[in-house]
């Protein structure tokens, strides 16, 4: 899901830089208010985790690969704004050091994987969890949060790809950037993230939540008392 340089034109990547910078500014404000020192080591580990899980490329028929992102579980454990920070740093370092995702596309990639994904995952988790704290229900909530967070992020990425031929074509009518229209990009990206990548993300999210609830339940942001949970 890491968009390389050249796949998005400036009409798309510049506004998405703006949007991501906006979210970084809000994240910085929110975290200054609510981040406590005891969470700092966990933030560092969250970033390390997200970096690593994205290296596990899973092959699928058709000759392509994909991977989980980890943004959903970070949002559930440490809060969505924390996930914005941790995953954005990871994506920027992946682009700068390893050429995974373009530099011009950093804004877009951060928006898709470090903003859309953690918030969708977090909302879905809260929605399904409701007011109860029964373990089976938390497990289902976590699975769907990870799964759907990734799928929605893939959908948004596909839309960014798919609108390129509509926005910019050369003199010969050929697309200037990502060449495939929405009708190809959306099904291709969404289907592979529904199965299998979303399932993987769902299981990872569910198992990690289970592990944290067992060993360090006071840490889990999304199941804390709602009054401390702004």
């Amino acid at each position: 899901m890491h968009i390389p340089d050249g796949y998005l034109g400036p009409q798309t990547y510049l506004p998405l830089y703006g949007v991501s910078i906006g979210f970084w500014a809000i994240a910085q404000k929110k975290l200054k208010k609510q981040l406590s020192l005891k969470h700092v080591p966990y933030l560092a580990m969250a970033a390390a985790f997200s970096f690593l899980i994205m290296m596990f490329n899973i092959p699928i028929p058709g000759g392509t690969t994909g991977h989980a992102v980890g943004a959903g579980i970070i949002a559930i454990l440490l809060g969505p704004w924390t996930a914005v920070l941790a995953v954005s740093v990871v994506l920027i370092i992946q682009a700068l050091l390893f050429g995974d995702g373009g530099i011009t596309a950093v804004g877009a990639n951060c928006f898709n994987m470090a903003v859309v994904m953690p918030f969708v995952s977090y909302w879905i988790f809260k929605l399904i969890k409701g007011k109860t704290a029964g373990r089976p229900r938390l497990a289902v909530a976590a699975f769907l949060a990870g799964d759907l967070g990734l799928v929605v992020a893939a959908l948004i990425t596909a839309v960014e790809f798919g609108i390129q031929p509509l926005i910019a074509t050369g003199v010969n009518g050929r697309p200037l950037y990502a060449p495939y229209p929405l009708s190809i990009a959306v099904p291709a990206m969404v289907l592979e993230h529904v199965f299998p990548f979303g399932i993987v993300e769902g299981f990872v999210t569910m198992l990690l939540l289970k592990y944290f609830l067992k060993h360090e339940p006071d840490l889990v942001y999304a199941v804390l008392d709602p009054s401390t949970n702004k």
Binding site: H2, P4, D5, G6, G9, Q28, L31, L35, S36, L37, H39, V40, P41, L43, A44, M45, A46, A47, A48, F49, S50, F51, L52, I53, M55, F56, N57, I58, P59, G63, T64, T65, G66, T82, L85, A86, V89, V90, I93, Q94, L96, L97, F98, G99, D100, G102, I103, T104, A158, G170, R174, P175, L176, Y177, A178, P179, A188, M189, H215, E216
Partner: protein, 111 residues
């Protein structure tokens, strides 16, 4: 560092040692890049041309360790696997350090 945090770090290190799976499995099943992440050469094969704007931007940035691989394009699987572990360790080191410093700074000024 608490005992629990130590345990988590050990888990992360084990994950880093397992990252070669991320190149070996795709190789085994003849899968290449993710959808929409093809290089210019592959696009030329897929489409018969390279989109003009894409051609201009594609080499916008030269990353020091492209594709987490120290060996370049013709690298052996062994070298790629070793590169993956080294990149994984380097990556988690840099990510953890940057996030630690940034969040440490923010938390200090908070409460």
């Amino acid at each position: 560092m608490t005992r629990f945090q130590k345990k988590l770090w050990i888990g992360l290190l084990i994950m880093a040692l397992l990252t070669p799976l991320g190149v070996l499995l795709p190789e085994k099943f003849k899968a290449e890049e993710a959808w929409g992440e093809w290089g210019a050469e592959k696009l030329e094969k897929l489409l018969g041309y390279v989109p003009e704007g894409l051609k201009k931007l594609t080499d916008f940035w030269k990353a020091p360790i492209p594709d987490y691989n120290f060996g370049g394009e013709g690298a052996s699987m062994t070298l790629q696997a070793i590169s993956y572990i080294a990149s994984g360790l380097l990556g988690i080191g840099v990510c953890a350090f940057v996030v630690f410093m940034v969040s440490r700074f923010m938390a200090k000024h908070g409460k």
